[in-house]
């Protein structure tokens, strides 16, 4: 599966798709990037007259690239139609702010993929190659 095929299989769309491109992917990990458009709606309120990307959005970006894209790749078309991807845990620390129009690169390393649960060590860097945030994120397939 190439970058475009994986992104096409993601269950997200604008304004909640936070993956522009998958740069590298294999069974052990993934690297991808995203640029936060300055017109994204949350910048109007976070913060008042001083736009900074919210930590939850950074977390979501790390989860979409680092866990969901890798999960789609590992499942290799086996995703059942009534299966949904659920975020099950996050443990993240934040080191630097991300401003509008910044491009970030997410790198994820698989810790394990067992019994439908994928747990990864994920980090995000800005375009100056500085560490923005890092931590552990897990998700799994749930049936409704």
């Amino acid at each position: 599966m190439n970058s475009n095929e994986i992104i096409a299989k993601l269950p997200y769309s604008k304004p909640f798709l936070f993956v522009d491109e998958i740069l590298k992917i294999n069974e052990n990990g993934v690297e991808g990037c995203f640029t936060y458009d300055e017109n994204l709606d949350f910048y109007r309120g976070h913060f008042k007259s001083q736009p900074i990307t919210p930590g939850v959005i950074l977390t979501e970006t790390m989860a979409q690239i680092g866990v969901v894209c890798l999960g789609v790749f590992l499942m290799n078309n086996q995703l059942v139609s009534n299966g949904l991807i659920a975020l099950t845990s996050t443990e993240i620390e934040f080191l630097k702010p991300v401003f509008p129009d910044e491009k970030v690169t997410v790198t994820s390393e698989k810790i394990y993929f067992r019994f439908g649960k994928l747990k990864c060590k994920v980090s995000m860097k800005n375009s100056q190659n500085e560490l923005v945030c890092q931590g552990i994120i897990a998700g799994m397939i749930v049936n409704f």
């Binding site: 099950t88 845990s89 067992r114 019994f115 439908g116 649960k117 747990k119 799994m140």
Partner: protein
């Protein structure tokens, strides 16, 4: 291995994931991990991986799905230890 020894090791394994800590004191073979100990079902995967490591066994998907109570888990561990 004696069942009581397995149960004691099991308590140590599940402890970090238990939300209802007081329920651990009343733990018996019918204790249900999700309903009694209020363990997040996603964390059952981490518990099973810890069980594999501590007991040196491998748990398959079918066994994993049955490991919801202390009794079922001890039985599965005993069976795997015999292999």
């Amino acid at each position: 291995m004696e069942n009581t020894e397995i149960v004691n090791q099991l308590i140590a394994i599940v402890k970090p994931y238990v939300t209802e800590v007081e329920a651990l004191n009343d733990l018996n073979e019918n204790t249900d991990f999700i309903n009694d100990l209020k363990i997040n079902s996603a964390n059952l995967v981490d518990i099973v991986l810890d069980i594999e490591e501590v007991f040196g066994i491998e748990i398959d998907n079918e066994s994993m799905q049955k490991m919801l109570t202390v009794k079922a888990t001890v039985e599965i561990i005993q069976n795997k230890l015999k292999i």
